[in-house]
Point group: C2
Amino acid sequence: MEGTIAGEGTRTTRKEAMAETRRKLMAAGREAFGTIGYAEASMDDLTAAAGLTRGALYHHFGDKKGLLRAVVEEIDREMSERLGAISAAAGSRWQGLVDEQVAYIRMALEPEIQRIMFRDAPAVFGDLSQWPSASACVAALKAHLDALLAEGAIVEIDTEAAARLISGAGGYAATWIATSEDPAETSARAVASFRTLLDGLRARGM
Amino acid sequence: MEGTIAGEGTRTTRKEAMAETRRKLMAAGREAFGTIGYAEASMDDLTAAAGLTRGALYHHFGDKKGLLRAVVEEIDREMSERLGAISAAAGSRWQGLVDEQVAYIRMALEPEIQRIMFRDAPAVFGDLSQWPSASACVAALKAHLDALLAEGAIVEIDTEAAARLISGAGGYAATWIATSEDPAETSARAVASFRTLLDGLRARGM
DNA sequence: CGATTTGACATACGCGCCGTATGCCACTAT
DNA sequence: ATAGTGGCATACGGCGCGTATGTCAAATCG
């Protein structure tokens, strides 16, 4: 029924092979884009590292940008999941917001995320948060702010705009930290100031 | 004495000619980088548009990145001047800070600044605020915050870190606005939220 | 179960663009 | 006026992207 001799388990049906090469290309893309960067990455080298040729790449992703797009979407999903788990584990809603944003900054310190999501992708695609898969991080942050506003826990503010401003500040903080000489110390400073800045949004009546 | 026939005024001494070609190349660079972007800009086309060839470019700037570097430094100086004038014209120190930051966001709406300073330059050079000429905008903002902190007008905070966070939020707001469908309305929302966010830094005792 | 079709991927090609090496000629110095 | 300097143009090599074409294994159908 499957066109194979028996239930050999690791037999190479067409779909499996395709998924495998796709995974190889994505992995090679994350590796190359995350280290030497998008502009410097050669598609010949990248595909060769995956044990393939450019033919496979253009078949699956159309062009060089297509591979970057796929990689970005994958990383975006992973980030959302991790952030969601963190805010869900927090004690209060406010604490969840703070934890999530601090985690966001810390995630942006990971070289792969730093380089691909905060440096190359915006240059190639313009603004990320305007996507179909719209950088779910901003969306989650807005939802958080909406809930807090409804509770009266924060001052009156346009939650979408605020979410974008906060996210922008966090992203910039990450690049500042990543390019500094002492990332650990810089990170501590950035996070502390970030907490102060966020605290300014809490409702004054306490 | 000048190697020319007479005091013709517009006679071509060596230095003048060099300065002129440099200006032409910079102008062509700002035009090309500011519209089609750094990656898509062909140095053949760019130099031809300036009435020159790639020979002149590589003589003056070394390579493609060299021209971008020079363009970025020039724009950075212009931005600092404009922002300094704005904050100097404000009534109070706090008002100067707010005006300056709002102006920063609005400046980032200019296509040339948006594309070159906020999109391409960070991708090519990494973080801008770590430069020799260190994006004077951040430095000016930090100085502002230092003064306000000394006056007791804002809450206790690491002023450099805060300056970078604020600048990051502003920069991101600008790209959000620039890529939105209705920039005017989005701009109003961003600026309003930005004011609220800044307001959270003011000393609670009023 | 064998013939035919499909399509995933490799190979081959052309073009554009960058960076360098070389050449030319106007301006400078003596 | 003559020798020399250097700003800029021209010529060359190489690389990387995107496309067109080929190939062979897996899927489909009688």
